[in-house]
Amino acid sequence: MATSRRYPIGCTLGLILGGLACQALAEPPVAAPSNNNGIMTFPNVRVTHAPPAAIEQKPAAEAASMQAFVDPITNELRAATAEEAKQLSSADAARTRTAIVANSATHSSTGDEQLIYGPGNTVGMLLTNADMVFQTVHIDADGNLIQECVTGEDAAAHAAHAHTQQESNNDR
């Protein structure tokens, strides 16, 4: 399934031609060998295959080493108490690193943000389904497909079923 062709970052030809935008020079997609189900290749894209097990079964300890606590009262970063660490470990055992991103229950303003530390003073925060952007669609009274983009799983569930806000030729 996965393709292995690599394309260099950059646009050498664009530089040679003196500033032509690379977008205009992008190579057209081409078909890969027919024994590959017609999977195509594109100049600025690579495909890798990582089955769920590869990203969803990381040891909880590894995940915990990348995490920190924010005090729910002071909003300051601090070490987790033993009880908090136990709760986090328990939670991590029940979900994957990827699932942390997907689990809206882990996101709130009460201090359970999952923080990441990078080089220097870099601080990061893993986001959750509450931050994901959902695209919903419904059929309006005129039979038209109405697409709507909303942020958060709850908003998506509401948007997919709340048809009254949309304009239609049957609006009155």
């Binding site: 394309y7 970052i9 664009g14 500033g19 992008a26 997609p29 078909a31 027919s34 189900n37 017609g38 999977i39 195509m40 290749t41 594109f42 100049p43 600025n44 894209v45 690579r46 495909v47 890798t48 295959h49 089955p51 990203i55 990827t98 991103v101 997907a102 990441i116 990078g118 080089p119 220097g120 003073n121 870099t122 990061g124 925060m125 893993l126 931050d131 994901m132 952007v133 959902f134 695209q135 669609v137 419904h138 059929i139 497909l145 697409q147 709507e148 983009c149 909303v150 942020t151 958060g152 709850d154 998506a156 569930a157 997919a160 079923h161 048809h163 304009e167 030729n169 609006d171 009155r172």
Partner: protein, 476 residues
């Protein structure tokens, strides 16, 4: 106001100029689609399919993957980054009914602050942007964007018969073009989003998003980063008053958004003089710069002093509106074109429809009737209340209120009077759609409006779109 902000504007302009030079010289990034579907499902679905619209895949999974790649390739050819952008992607079941569905979701996996070369210190940036600015992968453990799309779309019980169009040629007809949806969702994942709460105004952990340095409220005369939580919450529902104050977007607006914002201009009496934002009509003649000017006359044909105009106007109402602009009310059992046609038949030269529910901005008037030949607009309930209060002192044949239905050619549609693109800030707040999109008024339609329109050209950059220009302002 402008002079006060010269310093900040200057910095932003210089930054945008430098970025523009950079992107011309070396405009490309590599996007990795990390297929996390298990064998036999999603991207690995072996169901045989016929090639469609330039998509050469022969299985459902291969066609999905080709469409993902095609969308990623458009972004990859536009962005500049020395660090690969990893999209962790899957097709899997999502919420569905027979008439509605979640198409999919996407977003940044993580946000970062205080990394080297950050656009602003102590501000949240998307993961992919942080990588680009630092030149290294600040979080090599996790991907940069998570994308999940609905594997069941078009099957029984899940918008049956309306699957994704997987062709690459934008020839989707009435189907849902997966590439357009992906371009939009990838845009959010790349950083087209504030992480500040639009309802409460609270910043994430008390720290602003890079977006908050560019969102300027024309009522408060402040950037979001300068506001209190309460001010931000008010700004998020300040209809068509919140603008994107970035040099790259503002420079591109004239290349794209056409001139001529629909307006209802009240010129008399002096105490009512105003330019009111309106919703246009999907029927009847287009509003013009010269417009239609006349005295406003109110129709009254129902309880509580409202005028529904669902039936031919009475003699008294016809006398009142003849040669004038009729003020009608939304509601009743008839469609908007019926109301307008009844006013037209009574001799009205234009129609103002007063909304009957609170909220801003006023939506357009939907409907079809090729026999309508007078212009019509919708105004908000609040504006209608003001107008009706003034109309209480009218006589049977004269109100003294002079109005013009037309367009303000000096204001581009979807931009503010200073040429800055407007953001989507309806009142009431629309859960998640508000703020982190361009306003729906923009024309031609923009990729990052909350409703993905069927006429999008599969482009992300000017002169066909403004999405990349906004990302450039944030540091891309």
């Amino acid at each position: 106001m402008i002079a006060k902000r010269t310093s900040l504007f200057g910095k932003l302009a210089l930054g945008a100029a430098a970025l523009a030079v950079s992107s011309t010289a070396l405009s490309a990034a590599t996007i990795v689609i990390q297929n996390v579907n298990a064998p036999g499902v999603g991207f690995n679905d072996p169901t045989p399919v016929e090639p469609v619209g330039g998509n050469l895949g022969t299985t459902m999974g291969a066609q999905r993957l080709n469409a993902f790649q095609a969308a990623a390739n458009i972004w990859g050819a536009t962005l500049t980054s020395d660090v690969v952008i990893t999209v962790v992607a899957s097709f899997e079941p999502q919420g569905c009914t027979a008439t509605s569905a979640t198409l999919g979701s996407a977003g940044a996996v993580a946000i970062f602050r205080d990394f080297p070369n950050a656009t602003f210190p102590n501000a949240w940036h998307s993961s992919a942007l942080a990588n680009k600015l630092t030149g290294t992968d600040v979080d090599p453990v996790n991907g940069d964007i998570r994308a999940r799309f609905n594997a069941n779309l078009g099957t029984p019980g899940c918008l049956e018969g309306r699957p994704f169009y997987l062709g690459l040629d934008n020839n989707h007809g009435n189907a849902i073009d997966l590439i357009s949806v992906l371009l939009h969702e990838f845009g959010h994942g790349l950083g087209f989003q504030t992480f500040t709460n639009g309802v409460s105004g609270a910043q994430r952990m008390g720290i602003p998003s890079v977006w908050d340095f560019f969102m300027f409220d024309n009522t408060a005369n402040k950037l979001w980063v300068e506001m209190t939580n309460a001010e931000r919450a008010a700004s998020a529902i300040n209809g068509r008053k919140l603008a994107w104050n970035g040099a790259s977007v503002t420079a591109a607006v004239p290349q794209l958004l056409i001139g001529g914002t629909p307006m209802l201009t009240i010129s008399a009496p002096a105490n009512l003089a105003a330019q009111l934002a309106v919703g246009g009509a999907g029927f009847g003649p287009q509003l013009s710069e010269s417009g239609v000017t006349g005295e406003v006359a109110q129709v009254v044909d129902a309880a509580n002093g409202i005028g529904l105009a669902c039936t031919p106007l009475s003699a008294a109402n016809a006398t009142a509106v003849k040669g004038k602009i009729a003020l009608l009310d939304r509601g009743g059992t008839c469609l908007f074109p019926v109301k307008v046609k009844n006013a037209q038949d009574a001799g009205a030269i234009g129609v103002i429809v007063a909304d009957n529910v609170p909220g801003t901005p006023a939506p357009n008037l939907a409907g079809v009737d090729p026999t309508v030949n007078i212009p019509s607009v919708r105004i908000t309930l609040a504006d209608a209340t003001t107008l009706k209060t003034a109309l209480r002192t009218r006589s049977r044949t004269s109100s003294g209120i002079i109005a013009a239905l037309g367009v303000n050619a000096a204001i581009r549609i979807g931009a503010d009077p200073f040429g800055r693109a407007l953001l989507f800030t309806p009142n009431p707040f629309q859960g998640g759609s508000s703020v982190s999109h361009f306003d729906t008024l923009g024309f031609p339609n923009l990729l990052m409006e909350p409703n993905i329109n069927a006429d999008l050209p599969q482009k992300v950059s000017a002169p066909q779109d403004l999405t990349f220009q906004l990302l450039q302002d944030t540091g891309w």
